[in-house]
Amino acid sequence: MRNLLRWETALVFLLVVVALAGQVSTDGSFLSGGNLFYLGLDIAEIALIALPLTLVIVAGEIDLSVASVLGLSSALIGWLWNAGWSLETILPAVIVAGALCGAVNGLLVTRLGLPSLAVTIGTLALYRGLALVVLGDTAVADFPASYTSFGTTPIPGTDIPYPIALAAVLAVLFGIALHASSFGRAVFAIGANEEGARFSGIRVKRVKLTLFVLAGAVAAIAGIVYTFRFSSARADNGVGLELAVVAAVLLGGVSIFGGKGTLFGVLAGVLLLGGLRNLLILQDTSTEVLTIVTGLLLLVSVLAPSITRRVGTLRKAAP
């Protein structure tokens, strides 16, 4: 526990360092309202998906299909829009579809007892494949500006993008669910010791199913955000995003083995990755550096706790 807290402190410290370095090196444009608006837009989908995924990983499972659900929901939006549905019907329908995708993952994991890693690698291909089947390789772009502007303009009078406001609201909800509710306590217990949780009367299967459904639904919401932000419904939207989200969650100090992690850490992780990325792009750093930095941060995030632990025990053992 103490190690985790230390890791989150380190994250906040890193965030401050990045912010200050960015501010100095870009002559103040890094923390300007305009840039923060773009930064917010860039991390919106990752931030959204990271919320339920944190819970899933804390419960000792993983969902790699989230980006494909995002793509499928985007494809569905385009397909239904072309079919003449109204957006007011499409959006709830798409969220339900996302929840269904999550439910399929969850049922395969809980009912058949399959490992979620394998299941969601399978549905990663399946859902992306379905997206391609639905929309093919075409793009649907003729959405009304009243909707797409949610993704391109800030909330009037502020520099806050709408998707970030949505993510913030959901973050509070998920934070409460994970850290202050009996549901969250069950999630931690399942991740730390599933059998023990079951023997304590926790409905392990139901909790896990709920988590996968949430992951699917939120991934679909992220798909809506993505579609309107780029006013482009395509089957290949968000390809590969799952790795970025997993990277952010792990960087946030969530244990890949489950049972440990905080939502605050994850949000800090998302911000750190997004901020660093934004800063590097502002600095015209070449893309390969971005790729390498992402990878290194991920390595550091898993190596750091084990190193601090080792140093800690050494220090304790010294006297």
């Binding site: 509710s181 009996s182 730390a192 079951r198 023997f199």
Partner: protein, 499 residues
């Protein structure tokens, strides 16, 4: 017995962080002897064994093999020195065949250093024959009963003609018959001049098998010597360092209404047609050999496993099958067999573990009330005399006995009307054991119906108002308190019931 020791520890110390697990402990294992290692939980037995096994390196002191100081850099070195360890929890490879488990890393080789599978199977069969066991060498280890797993471990130790064999609670999972077999094997090993280090909480077995013993307490060496002049009482005194009051203090209570009623419960291939009642104020023991289906019945009653047929009723109301939630709502509490895996979340705090079964009661609209949670944990920590530093500490740092108290607290916090306890004192030191027994007795006195599963006959005899005996998945005998003798229970458990 003047021969030099095969293996000896000389003033060995070992610390983990601030915790001193062993300080200046010595041990001499002579060829041809069976030597008991005794001590309460947390006395340092496991650390000592792991030092012999090469898992831990001592901070100070020496490990001597044939009188020469050695440094084990890992388990492989210890194995090479002829030290075999049979751990309390079997350490088999479920995906591999039984024969490969026996010969892992030492498989007989044929042409081109390739493994000779036929030879390996043949040699495994030979070993099993020596143990009097019929197991297929080619079958995978997954699915073996705990007793069979233990036997594979023993065969493994035999397979490389070890000069020192360490057995950590080898009899915990074995039937009386198998225990006798094992003792025969130990005798045979002694005849071949091997040394056997025997760790057990069952003092009867210790006195039957061993010639000498070493006692540890709180990581320190207490005593070592021949057992011929000792009695179980004198050894226990050395272990706990104080006199013990009566071990099994069940008070007499009058049984009330039937609280738990199990009818014709069946789970295919596991247990068949099990029916019994437990009344308020009663402690009913479910006895039998390990693998007879006792724990499985308890799991099915609590809803962990779904029975194929039959019913479970609490206060006359039928329970939904396969739902721990329903069982809990009806007032059943369940202290499971395996504390570490099933009873507790080891990384979580004492407080959280205590509250884990009461989350619903501790929250409003799904939101937890932190104060109530803390108050609950504090309350039960006091009631059960839990020894701890902070309620926020992970439960994993507690001793086994204190961990068991946390499990009990978790269930008692729900005020259960039916409490199922599966091996409630397994691997617990003698002092805590007495506390647990007193607690169960008090609960019964308060009108709780207690169903107790135990492999220790003295415990069964001391605690139970009635004893149900299972054999191969069936309930074969029911004995009232006055009828119960060690012999009748043992006979019934072996399947020999006087009709």
């Amino acid at each position: 017995m003047d021969r030099p020791p095969v293996v000896a520890l000389d003033e060995v110390s070992k610390s983990f962080g601030a915790v001193r697990a062993l300080s200046g402990v010595s041990l001499r294992l002579l060829p041809g002897e069976a030597h008991a290692l005794l001590g309460e939980n947390g006395a340092g037995k496991s650390t000592l064994i792991k030092t012999l096994a090469g898992v831990h390196r001592p901070d100070a002191g020496r490990v001597l093999v044939d009188g020469e100081a050695v440094r084990f850099s890992g388990p492989a070195d210890a194995l090479a020195a002829g030290i075999a360890i049979i751990y309390q929890e079997p350490t088999l490879f479920g995906d591999l065949s039984v024969a490969e488990n026996v010969f892992m890393g030492r498989q007989p080789l044929g042409l081109g250093r390739r493994i000779d599978v036929a030879a390996m199977h043949a040699r495994t069969s030979e070993l099993f024959a020596r143990l009097g066991v019929r197991l297929d060498p080619a079958r995978p280890a997954r699915g073996l009963s705990i007793a069979d797993q233990q036997l594979v471990e023993i065969a493994k130790a035999l397979s490389f003609a070890a000069r020192v064999i360490v057995m950590d609670e080898p009899t915990a999972a074995l039937s009386a018959h198998e225990v006798q077999r094992l003792f025969g094997v130990v005798q045979a090993l002694r005849d071949q001049d091997a040394a056997v280090l025997f760790v057990s909480h069952r003092l009867g077995e210790v006195f039957e098998l061993c010639q000498r013993a070493t006692v540890l307490r709180d990581g320190e060496f207490v005593w070592s010597g021949g057992l011929e002049d000792e009695t179980p009482d004198s050894v226990v005194r050395r272990m706990v360092g104080r006199e013990l009051s009566q071990l099994f203090p069940k008070q007499d209570t009058t049984a009330g209404e039937v609280l738990l009623s199990v009818r014709r419960l069946t789970r295919e291939g596991v247990f068949t047609d099990v029916s019994f009642d437990v009344r308020a104020g009663e402690i009913v023991a479910l006895s039998g050999l390990v693998g007879a289906g006792r724990s499985e019945v308890a799991r099915a009653v609590f809803g962990i496993d779904r029975p194929d047929a039959g019913s479970v009723e609490v206060r006359g109301k039928k329970l939904r099958h396969g739902s721990p939630t329903a069982a809990m709502a009806a007032g059943i509490g369940f202290v499971p067999e395996d504390r570490r895996q099933q009873g507790l979340v080891m990384d979580a705090s004492i407080e959280r573990n205590t509250a884990l079964a009461s989350l619903g009661r501790l929250s409003t609209f799904g939101l937890l009330r932190g104060k109530s949670e803390r108050a609950l944990a504090e309350d039960w920590a006091v009631k059960l005399r839990l020894r701890f530093a902070r309620l926020g500490d992970p439960v994993g740092v507690l001793s086994g006995g204190n961990q068991q108290k946390v499990v009990l607290a978790k269930w008692l916090a729900r005020n259960p009307s039916v409490l199922i306890v599966d091996e409630p004192t397994r691997g617990i030191d003698v002092g805590t054991k007495a506390e647990v027994h007193r607690l169960l007795s008090e609960l019964a006195g308060q009108g709780v119906a207690v169903l107790m599963i135990s492999s220790e006959l003295p415990e069964v005899l001391g605690m139970a108002d009635r004893v149900l005996v299972m054999h191969e998945g069936r309930l074969v005998e029911e004995l009232a308190r006055h009828e119960t003798t060690e012999e009748r229970v043992a006979l019934a458990a072996a399947g020999q019931v006087a009709s």
